[in-house]
C-alpha cells in the first residue's frame, strides 16, 4: 500500500479547499443562514410544527443534506476533473499507485471537506433554532455515509465529464431537484397520496428521512430501510468506480 501517495493526494486536495476558504466553507454557511431567514423565519412563522417538531428545527436535517450532497459531488468531481482538464493527471497515472489508493486520496479528501461543512452548518443552525439530536451515533453514521457515498458519486461524474458543462449537468439537473423534492423542507406525509407514492421513487427521500430520524425520531420511512438504501447506493457507486478503473474509462486510452 502506497500510503505516502494517498497522504499527498489527500493533503493536496485539503489545501486546495483551504486556499479557497471563502468558496469552500464560508459560502455554504451564508447559504444556510439565508435558508433559515427565508424558510425558518418568513415561512416557518406560519407553520407551527411538523409532526411535533418546530418547523425551523424540522428543516435542519434536510438543509444539511442539501448542502452535503451538492458539496460532496462538487468537491469530488472537481478534484478529479481538474487534473484531467489541465493534463496534470499524467503524474498520478504514471506513479506506483493503485486505483484504490487514488480513490481513497481524492474521495477521502472530498468527504472530509463535506463532513466539516456539515458540522459547520449544524453549528450555524444552532444559532437560529433549538436543536436536539436524539441518536448522535446514528446521526454521525448517516453524515459520514452520505459524505462518502456522494463524494464517490461526484468522483464518477468527474471521471465521466469531458467538459465543465457536463461537470455541472447532473448536480444541477438531477441532484438539486431530487433533494428539493425529497422532503428537505417538508414531511412526505404532507403531500397528497399520489405524490407520496411518486416521492418514494426518489432515493434522496430515504436519506433525508433516516437523517431526520436521528435528530427527532420522526421519519417518512423506517430507519432500517433508509440505511439499506444509502448502503445500496454506496454499493452501486463502488461498483461503477471499480468498472471505470478496470477499463481505464476516460483515464487510460
Amino acid at each position: 500500500m502506497n500510503t505516502c501517495a494517498i497522504r499527498v493526494i489527500y493533503k493536496y486536495e485539503m489545501l486546495r479547499a483551504w486556499d479557497t476558504m471563502l468558496q469552500s466553507f464560508v459560502s455554504p454557511v451564508i447559504s444556510t443562514a439565508l435558508y433559515f431567514v427565508v424558510f425558518g423565519s418568513a415561512i416557518g412563522s406560519r407553520i407551527e410544527s411538523v409532526e411535533g417538531v418546530p418547523y425551523g428545527s424540522f428543516i435542519v436535517p434536510g438543509l444539511m443534506m442539501l448542502v452535503l450532497l451538492t458539496q460532496s459531488i462538487a468537491n469530488a468531481s472537481f478534484g478529479i476533473y481538474f487534473p484531467k482538464f489541465t493534463g496534470t493527471i499524467y503524474e498520478v497515472m504514471s506513479a506506483p499507485i493503485s486505483f484504490f489508493e487514488i480513490l481513497v486520496g481524492y474521495v477521502g479528501a472530498a468527504a472530509t471537506k463535506s463532513f466539516i461543512i456539515g458540522l459547520i452548518i449544524l453549528a450555524t443552525a444552532g444559532f437560529f433554532v433549538p436543536l436536539q439530536i436524539a441518536h448522535p451515533v446514528w446521526m454521525m453514521g448517516f453524515l459520514i455515509l452520505t459524505c462518502i457515498t456522494f463524494s464517490l458519486f461526484g468522483f464518477i461524474i468527474g471521471l465521466w465529464a469531458t467538459n465543465f458543462e457536463k461537470l455541472q449537468l447532473i448536480p444541477m439537473l438531477v441532484i438539486t431537484p431530487l433533494v428539493f423534492l425529497g422532503g428537505s423542507f417538508y414531511s412526505v406525509n404532507m403531500l397528497p397520496p399520489a405524490w407520496q407514492t411518486a416521492t418514494f421513487f426518489n432515493p434522496v427521500v430515504y436519506l433525508i428521512s433516516g437523517f431526520r430520524w436521528s435528530f427527532f425520531e420522526v421519519s417518512d420511512v423506517s430507519v432500517g430501510l433508509s440505511l439499506v438504501m444509502v448502503l445500496a447506493f454506496l454499493g452501486i457507486c463502488l461498483f461503477i468506480v471499480w468498472r471505470m478503473f478496470k477499463t481505464g474509462y476516460r483515464l487510460k486510452q
Binding site: I9, D19, G87, S94, P96, S98, Q253
Partner: protein, 306 residues
Amino acid sequence: MQPIVSITNLSKTYASGHQALKNLNLDIARGEILALLGPNGAGKTTLISIICGIVNATEGSVTVDGHDIVTDYRITRSMIGLVPQELTLGAFDTVWNTLCFSRGLFGKKPDHAYLEQLLKDLSLWEKKDSELMTLSGGMKRRVLIGKALVHEPAILFLDEPTAGVDVELRKDMWALVRRLRETGVTIILTTHYIDEAEEIADRVGVINNGELLLVDDKHALMHKLGKRQLIVELDQVAESIPDVLLPWALDLSADGLQLSYTYDPHNTHTGINELLQAIGAAGLLLKDIKTTQSTLEEIFVSLVKS
C-alpha cells in the same frame, strides 16, 4: 547484459480505429541515451505513454528491469521518470510543493537535501517558493524535469524536451542529459530535431506510422546510410555534362559552376581518381574541391520517404 527496457510485439489501436503502434520490438540498454526520431503522429508519445502506464497496450508486452509493466507496475513505475511534452503544471502550486507532491506519489517522503541539490542543478533554487504560473516557459520545462527526477529514477523519458525552447536552454538541457547519463540514468528522448539526436544520443531509432523503421548506434547509422558527396567547383560555366563524364552520374548545378558526385566512402574503389582525370581530359578547369557527409536529418528524411 539484460536490457533495462524490453518491448515485445507492442501494438496500440485507439478507440477511433487509429493504429498508433504496429508490432514494435525494441530493447533499450542500461545507461544509454536513445533518441526516438519521427514526425508528428509517428507513435513516439504513445510508446512512452504505454511504458509509463498512461495508455493501455492493445497487444504485446513491456518489461522494465525484467518486471512486467502491468503486473509489476509498482516496481516498474518507481524506476521511471517522465517529462511530458506539454507544460502540464498546476498554476497555484509553488515549485517546492509540486516537487514534494511528485515525490510523495512515488512513496517517498521529502528529502530536503536532495530536493535542494536538484533545484540547484536545474537553476531553480531561487524560485523554490514561486508559484508555477509566474515562471517562464523554460523554467516550467525545468520544473517538469525536476518532477520527473524527484524520486531518483533509473530511467528517464523525455518527450520532446526542447520543443519550443530557446537555444541556450536547449544546450543546458543537453548538458543536463549528459550529466544524468554519467550518474547511470538511462535516457530515452523523443524528438524531431535531428541535431538533438546527433548531439546527445548513443543510439537512434526512427519511428514512422507506428513502425520502428530501424534502431542503431548513431555513428553506425551514419556509417551505414550516410552517403558522401564530392563537390567540384568549376572555374568556368559548363553548359552540360560532357559525355566522357556520364558514367559517374554527376549532377550539374543550375548555374553550371558545380558538379556533384555521390559515392559510398566504404567501397574499396570510389572512382574519384578516374573522375578527376576525366574532368581534366574533358577540358574543365577546377576552382575548388570539397566533400560533404549526409547528416542524420538527410538519413531520416530518406527513411521516412522510402
